[in-house]
């Protein structure tokens, strides 16, 4: 019989680094990553599963980390926006965001980058419709969608 408990020791790999923490069952993944692991690149926007600012890639699948409990990712491998650049070298996608001025206030950017990263892995040269569909779960309240679209399109070609 599996244990029923209000907290659990969770072992998780985030951006290649393994962490082990005792986590309350009620803690959302986004709070765990930001507050317990001090990785504050992923943002909390709406906290209702709509805006996508908290998007992360968990075991290869893009998710919104405000709709997942931290105890659910025990044993998982997680990628957040901090894991994209290596040794300060931006990914082609990040550079493309910079080149195309694909961010205004920047709040949605970590989620946009993770969604676009997941897209480009599945479809290295996405169609326009695939780009729009891939970013549907991410809201930019500056409404700077067009430059974001252009940046992803350029990174994918």
């Amino acid at each position: 019989m599996s244990a029923i408990a209000s907290s659990k020791v969770v072992t998780v790999t985030v951006n290649g680094v393994e962490y082990e923490r005792d986590v309350e069952a009620r803690k959302l993944l986004i709070h765990f990553v930001r507050d317990d692991l001090d990785l504050t690149g992923s943002h909390i926007g709406c906290d209702t599963g709509n805006c996508g600012a908290c998007s992360m890639i968990v075991d290869g699948r893009l998710v919104k980390s405000c709709m997942l409990l931290a105890v659910q990712v025990d044993g998982a491998s997680i990628e957040t926006v901090e894991g994209l650049a290596e040794d300060g070298e931006l990914t082609a996608l990040q550079q493309s965001f910079s080149d195309h001025h694909a961010l205004q206030c920047g709040y949605c950017t970590p989620g946009m980058l993770m969604s676009a990263t997941a897209l480009l892995r599945a479809h290295p040269s996405p169609t326009d419709d695939q780009i729009k569909k891939a970013l549907q779960g991410n809201i930019c309240r500056c409404t700077g969608y067009w430059n974001i679209f252009e940046a992803v399109k350029a990174a994918g070609s």
């Binding site: 069952a25 906290d47 998710v63 997942l68």
Partner: protein
Amino acid sequence: MLLREVEYAKPATVAEALAILKQHDGARALAGGQTLINVMKARVASPDVLVDLNGLDDLKGIELGPDGTLTVGAMVTYTDIVGSAEARARPILGEVCSTIADVQVRNRGTIGGNVCSNDPTNHLPPLLCAAGAEMTIASEDGERNVAAADFFLGVYLTAVGPGELLTKVTIPAGKHDGFAAVTLGTDGTCIANAAASINGSLRVALGCVDAVPVVVQPASAAEDAVRDAVRGAGFTPPADVHGSSEYRIHLAEVLAVRAARQAAERS
């Protein structure tokens, strides 16, 4: 947002999950969590124990029988359905799942969670009613099958009772299906939707217009016949900021006609 204190279990077998659900009155099954976690934030739901079903591989299969019957485990995600070669035996299923919310939600949300939450704006309750699906509900006393048309009992209420778990959805063979919706933005929440299926006779299920899908059986897929059947159903849809009750009746007629036409054109 901080959730109310809750206990958590991740059973490895369906039997274990059923035992926990039976032993704890305040236990609730956690499927994809794309609805439940949010309603817990709002304190609309406050379970004492979350029984995480994500470790139950027995509920994650998609099987295609020799007669074309499709069996989908309750924990199969929308993304799994969209990518499944077997699920293409009933093409409408993947087509509709690919329009639910967004990539992130489709990666976590499950067919079981969609039907068990029975939000009247969900896509799958009317679709599965039209398609003539059957739900398998397990408890420690055994299994029982419930037709989709009898599964949805009220807003957020289904035939799955305390100590029970939906384990799979069985969909008969068929390709002559249609689905139409008016949504808040592309792939957004449905303001009204309709699913149609021709399997011998035509069956149309209307969503968002009552607490549960309204099933009608028009004499044919002709526009007049479909409109007459919808008018004869006599439902009073809810009104909200997105549409009045009268507007939803209008949409139900139009969408039923579109869904029936799509189903007929695939015949």
